[in-house]
């Protein structure tokens, strides 16, 4: 069971790059790593997903080292609207006992 650990909170300023690290020491071979963003009173929203090395899309990058025991979500040039809770998620194959574990989340505050 791949549990995850994230910092409880982070502060940043507009225009800065923010890196949020998630630890998942017991990640299994077939597990993928996914990050979600959640605003108050809304459901989580998918940001990015990866298996190894680096993945980049239009909003973020995901860095995964070779041992896959951690991952880092990188948000370039954050704005006030990026203030939200970010969840690291490790997912296992759904062919038997399905275990989808959300971390406790990192509350990011972006200041002007």
């Amino acid at each position: 069971l791949a549990k995850t650990t994230q910092p409880i909170s982070m502060d940043s300023y507009e225009g800065q790059e923010v890196n949020i690290t998630c630890s998942h020491n017991n990640i299994a071979t077939n597990d993928y790593i996914t990050w979600y963003q959640q605003f108050p009173s809304q459901g989580p929203r998918f940001i990015i997903q990866g298996y190894k090395t680096k993945v980049t899309n239009e909003v973020a990058s995901l860095f995964i080292p070779a041992d896959r025991k951690s991952s880092t979500l990188s948000l370039p040039r954050v704005s006030l609207s990026d203030t939200a809770v970010y969840y690291c998620l490790v997912g296992s194959p759904m062919d038997s006992s399905y275990k989808l574990i959300f971390g406790s989340g990192t509350r990011l505050l972006v200041r002007p």
Partner: protein
Amino acid sequence: NAGVTQTPKFRVLKTGQSMTLLCAQDMNHEYMYWYRQDPGMGLRLIHYSVGEGTTAKGEVPDGYNVSRLKKQNFLLGLESAAPSQTSVYFCASSDVLTSGSVPLYNEQFFGPGTRLTVL
């Protein structure tokens, strides 16, 4: 497309009452999920479904039942509500992604949530 919708948005129950939460998705997704989120905490998986007519237990299934009679709908039932079930309930759906013969999960699309209070 409406995506994932949840009914109702809010509900207040008395201890012992029953209710059903409805989740509907119009994306033709195979997988559907029910989560609960308590204040200041992450989401915990209650039950999930990998296809019409199939359901399975998640991390915190006690006190809940589910049904997936139609592919687009996933119902969450509380037979005898307890104050400990006061929470925000989120439904989600996702497509099936496979790597060879191994099923993986993909991006989950979440509904807006149902805020349930049990007195």
